[in-house]
Symmetry: C2
Subunit: 466 residues, 2 copies
Amino acid sequence: MPHPRTGFAALDQSHIAALSTLVGPDRASTKRADLELHARDQSFHPQRPPDLLLMPETTEEVSQIMRYANAYRLPVTAWGAGTSLEGNSIPVRGGIMIDFGRMNRILNVHPDDFQVDVQPGITRLELNKSLARYGLFFTPEPGANATIGGMIANNASGIKTIKYGATKDNVLRLQVVKADGEVIQVGTRARKDSSGYDLLHLFVGSEGTLGLITEATLKLAPMPQEFSAVLASFEDVASAIQAVVEIVGAGLEPTALEFVDKETVQALNTDKGLAFPAAPTVIMEFIGSGEGEGLQAAMDICKSCGATQWASARGTEERNKLWEIRHHTYESLVRQHPGMAQKILDVCVPVSSYPELVSYSDEVLKQHRLLGYKFGHAGDGNLHINIVHDPADDEHHERVEAANALIVRRALALEGTATGEHGVGIGKRQFMLEQLGPAVNLMRQIKDILDPHGILNPGKIFLDEG
Amino acid sequence: MPHPRTGFAALDQSHIAALSTLVGPDRASTKRADLELHARDQSFHPQRPPDLLLMPETTEEVSQIMRYANAYRLPVTAWGAGTSLEGNSIPVRGGIMIDFGRMNRILNVHPDDFQVDVQPGITRLELNKSLARYGLFFTPEPGANATIGGMIANNASGIKTIKYGATKDNVLRLQVVKADGEVIQVGTRARKDSSGYDLLHLFVGSEGTLGLITEATLKLAPMPQEFSAVLASFEDVASAIQAVVEIVGAGLEPTALEFVDKETVQALNTDKGLAFPAAPTVIMEFIGSGEGEGLQAAMDICKSCGATQWASARGTEERNKLWEIRHHTYESLVRQHPGMAQKILDVCVPVSSYPELVSYSDEVLKQHRLLGYKFGHAGDGNLHINIVHDPADDEHHERVEAANALIVRRALALEGTATGEHGVGIGKRQFMLEQLGPAVNLMRQIKDILDPHGILNPGKIFLDEG
């Protein structure tokens, strides 16, 4: 029997034949093109194709696959849309890849409960398009068009978290297939629940290492009729963050509260032909047309915190124009540096430490001779840095990794986390012991209960899986 | 060695001497009066005093107590304010009671982060009094003046959950002493965190059965300047709940959205000399003085849903008067039935099933010849029923328990939960297998990892602990 953390059984022809029979030949593939499509996510971790691709259509099929894989010690990785950013969905030990693309249905809409039951393979945009007729939407908004299963597995969040919470705050119930094939339900459709241990949140953010999500009940919110927005430029980051703190403190409840650094504004100006001041900038969005007192109060706060320039956008149309600058940041930055790779850092700290984290990051980038664009969900203390590097230059890449490690360690020293929303995957494993201390053993014990043979997404979250 | 789920070592004189030395003699007691004070909560489960009361002042002392208790297999129960409602804090196997009353300090206020670090023994009202100077408050508002440790252990919630979430949504970081005395940290001070398994929420709501909370970082909200309110009476429960759904759907974001049945209104009228219509009633509260469009929109919705009467309260002073009816419900009902006990039921369902749950409850009460007052947090689907009974009459008490079981089972059939906010304790153990199915085994496995000798609050949550 191979050791669960160091070796697995090889996926031989008899396994491939048996597993393919479980889903039918049209939903199983060993074609190189199909496997290569599931070999990487949006990160720069080494690619690795799976040995077999399966596309189940039912929970029962997923259960049968797991029962087989568990009996024969075969690695199993789940696939949503491949948009993760820390290598979370790369099948580093090969084996079986379960692509949930065929389990992408909306099962029930409960409009009066502000809930929907879905299969995991539906994407965020598909779901919200279908929900529009009810005037409802699923609020978490990461940049990518991820699947709901992937968002739950990674506890994705994004721009609207300050108002509506992360994915974990918007999931009520899950159906999960365990490593041994058993199907369990966790959570209920009630909005509140105090019935014992919170098993629901144990699976949210577990990155497919504890079980496979086959159904979810999601909380929805009424889609606001109108939005308004403010963009304000500041002399320094400390003043910008003071405005962020005061806007939250005034109870203005923005739906977004974003930071963009001066380098990013410059890049966006160039890419989009805009002329915003090249300065630390806060962009915020509010529900409502902006005709009430809220928008004016936000602008007054920005001014009193030393904003040097500001622009407001009343109504959704004007808001959309103002949001251009933030919504297409990633694409704009990529276009500004053709042929170069961009490592996207993801750390999160208490909001009051944001200026310190930003200025420390500037120092680190300078010391390591790196170009980085800083922006993020300032209202949540979540900072991203896109560090530009030449993917073919190992020495360059090493400098990026060294800078990343220093910035993560400073976030931990500031009582923050190594990852605000991208998850641990491969890239953040090295920081878990530092962040969690002895609690890392508890994570390991929980993993060993649920997946005693270590077959579920091996090589993720835990450093001891090699 | 005694079996962990059936027997423990007796707490003999040598244990008492050794344990008393750990905290000093002035903070250890075997006096009957002290023990009796920790023998019951606010429920009617049988009283049982502990054998030894300890009042540690530091995490290190708690750790030493646990190390000793774990080595000698002594039961340990934690005590906050004794306000739980399902027997959660009754030391049913005797042993050591740890009263956190001396660990009641605010450790740090982080006003710019909207956070506070506290010890577990501080009460909700003490905490909020201290936070008032910062214009901030800890939002969960159960009826009782519980301690923060107790609120976290039971995932308490209450009236403001519809707006701000339950306790579990407002805790960011915990320091926990494990059964073996090890001190771990779970969560961080960052508002968002995707660093592996959600260990934080595993401890929230675990009722002192997985570890003892010795520190917590809580999320705070800015205290609104003004409130307004609406009270509306309806012909039937279905119309009342339709108004609840439409108010949420319109994005009006009430801070409370409460249901009170006609019997409760009558009792309150009598107790307080009020003259509200005896009818299914919805009481809602909004941030702001009510001069804007929100309050009018809420009233218009109530009218369009068939409200027969309504009253609005503009500004905090008027709101307070209107809220009388809901805020003192429990005390009013107790005064109406001197000498009688009141069993408080707690179930939660999807909001759209609330009318069905209420009408089924009426039937059950009638069949069982019981008087019950129904009210609750309708916006969350959380229903309470105060069932009046004679504590000295066993047959009466049996009818109450039979009615409770039927109502809980209907809540489960409606995809809800056996407990929205009071926890499992002793009273809801019998429903866990029905609600959770095979997931109950996962709860047991997690318990066995963290507390292999079963010494932490034995006899709670799990039916197999006798």
